[in-house]
Symmetry: C2
Subunit: 426 residues, 2 copies
């Protein structure tokens, strides 16, 4: 790699996109530290304030103003330290003005590298930016950084963000199950935990790790991939209460009835046009109480699950950092329109490596839980699923604590001086 | 203390009562290990299977069958390892048959010590058992072991179980707040976390520890002690979104309107006649969305919060163990109808000790959050409250992990051979 003079070095841009995770900042730390190590090729690294919105509005953050200690703290900080955005760019023809604006801002700030940290939609955006760059004759190296708690990206074995939410759900299910088991004789007999996962049941599946022996909770998992059959479900709950004295249900927010409709629809949609869900848990509890009369409790973990850095998976933190670092290394090697993916070499012992995959292969594709990961009755996980999931929640990576609370990074997030006279409304 | 011969030594009975906590088993470990050390005075320690129900039905567990290692593991295991019960004994005249049955079972098993691990109601029961024992001429030393996540016991400075749920809520609030802050530009602007606390707002108050600086989340705390005023609340939410871009609300399940009615009533009641709540969180989110149009998310932690041994407060674990141990020490010194309470000697540095208090002083009294712990506007905690709460969440006491999950004790729970021919229906 030839050393580039300061004047020919180009800057880089990093943005967080979509729902944040407990470890997306670990990816940010990976990107930032790798950029600093590759200072011969990369000048400054700018972050978008609130993701791609920051690029469109020329609201950039100068990450060079953050200390090395702050970036180390970033590794143990949940959520998006620069702000994320639910802001989908459509096709180039449809949203041409936005793509052209991106290139205008990149050109103004001599940005030659675009690192986009997100899920399926974001990989699609990164791909389109690389195309518009080529079309407009502006050289831009676009590399995705995979992130999503939903674990629904194809190609990669798993997706950073997922391991930690999986660990949170498995731990919480195990703990709450002990609670219910100890109370069931005279009080709550059925406990329902609603977890995230709009179309893919990976997070719900992780609840299955809580139990090891026959009869252990959770007794029922409801996946979005398996149509909810009320009568069969109720029979299973009744059977569990009869046999074990209690029943723990883990339900995905995205569970659907045999008619294909979400069990609980909040009725509103997000910026990507996805229906905003919430309420599958209370709905399931209502169904059980009405039909069987058992005292039920329900919990909806919502953001607590994806922000729970205090119980992050060490494997997940390492992978999140590794994909951030790898993205920069791919870029300086000149690899364009790719993203780092995790390749599993073995499950026991767990061995993995990072490879480059084309953005094209990942953009807008959802990977669902395969049928052979779900037991025949549709209510549990198979040994194959367990073998897949177990390494992803392995290890603890506790943040440092002060006065009983985790110490999370507070960045300066200093703005980069604007160079464009034009405003852009998003 | 004179050594008693094996034949004059009397056995002990321990029962867990009411809603379980992350550390009630640490109290159990304290009781068991102290009984083992006092084997000159105390014979076997029996536990009630499902609390007092186990005593009434003569379903006793022989704790001497558990290994020392199992009892050490118990210290790090949430929920009630012997089973708890929501089963209130009424006045002696009203429930005379039950009290007489208890004495019958105690007599049959030569039980001379009664350790009852619970909250206000349970301290009342322990007191009544000591009275009925005296009335029937059966010598029984009754000692309470305080426990409740609600922290609503009087006399004691705090109550084991509370510190850990407080830590869970403070940590979760801090984490979820970072999530919302990073998404608010284009997505969720208001996040509502519903926490436990039927009549006392201690747990909601603990959410206030998440923030340190002005503008930090949570921006609004809704206490059951402060009547909910819709308009004032909405103004505060709007102000927070305008100033900081987002708003985090921590709401107690027991929040009531100015008419004195619970904001969300599930409509059913538990064994103690308390209304079973749930839904204040979604109700608050609905109110905000309807009035202000902000995108809202809500979480209901429910049992996750009180079972969360993985993020237990070290202080709380130590105190839970200490009150269990002290209860046995009081009993062998012949102190009757008392319970160990925690006395704060200083806040900074935190110093505490254990003393004996009469059950009479604690039974059926609820300690609410005092008005001077709540800011004048009713939406936050004062410096005095913070000074009170901070030491209670201090320190981490992580359980051991295996394969990514906490290792929780599984006891043998071997039954004690029945000695009575009579059955008792509960």
């Amino acid at each position: 790699m030839p050393t580039q003079s300061k004047s020919t070095r180009r800057n880089a841009f990093y943005a967080q996109s979509g729902g944040v995770t407990a470890v997306i900042n670990a990816s940010a730390a990976g990107v930032i530290e790798a950029c600093r190590r590759h200072s011969r090729q990369i000048g400054k690294l700018y972050a978008g304030r609130h993701g791609i919105v920051g690029a469109l509005t020329e609201d950039l953050i100068d990450t060079s103003r953050e200390s090395a200690a702050a970036i180390r703290a970033l590794r143990q900080t949940p959520a998006g330290a620069f702000g994320s955005a639910r802001y989908k760019l459509m096709g180039i023809e449809q949203d041409r003005a936005k793509y052209e604006r991106l290139i205008e801002v990149f050109r103004a700030h001599r940005i030659g590298y675009f690192f986009y940290n997100g899920g399926n939609d974001s990989m699609d955006t990164a791909l389109k930016v690389s195309k518009i760059g080529a079309e407009l004759g502006y050289a831009i190296t676009c590399v995705g950084v995979p992130k999503t708690v939903d674990n629904d990206l194809p190609v990669t074995d798993c997706c950073p963000g997922f391991g930690s939410v999986a660990k949170y759900v498995a731990v919480s299910t195990r703990e709450a199950a002990l609670d219910v088991a100890s109370m069931a004789r005279t009080s709550t007999k059925v406990f329902v935990l609603e977890v995230m996962g709009r179309h893919a049941g990976w997070i719900a599946a992780a609840g299955g790790l809580a139990g090891k022996r026959p009869g252990d909770a959770p007794h029922v998992i409801l996946f979005p991939e398996i149509a909810f059959e009320r009568q069969r479900f109720l029979e299973r709950v009744k059977d569990s209460v009869t046999r074990y004295g209690y029943c723990v249900v883990v339900v995905s927010e995205g569970v659907k009835g045999t008619d294909g409709r979400f069990l609980a629809e909040a009725g509103s949609t997000d910026a990507f046009g996805h229906t905003q869900l919430g309420g599958a848990g209370p709905e399931i509890a209502r169904i059980v109480k009405e039909a069987l009369g058992y005292k039920c409790h329900w919990a909806v973990a919502d953001y607590l699950q994806r922000a729970a850095r205090h119980i992050a998976s060490k494997t997940d933190v390492q992978q999140a950092y590794a994909v951030g670092k790898a993205a920069v290394e791919f870029a300086v090697r000149g690899q364009n329109a790719v993203l780092p993916v995790i390749v599993r070499k073995s499950s026991r012992p767990y061995r993995w490596t990072i490879e480059a995959a084309p953005l094209e292969a990942v953009a807008n594709v959802e990977k669902k839980v395969p049928r052979d990961f779900v037991t025949d009755d549709g209510f549990g996980i198979t040994a194959a699923c367990r073998r897949y999931l177990e390494p992803l929640i392995a290890g603890e990576d506790y943040p440092t604590f002060k006065d009983g609370l985790p110490v999370y990074a507070r960045l300066r997030n200093a703005p980069v001086k604007r160079r464009l006279a034009t405003e852009f409304e998003v």
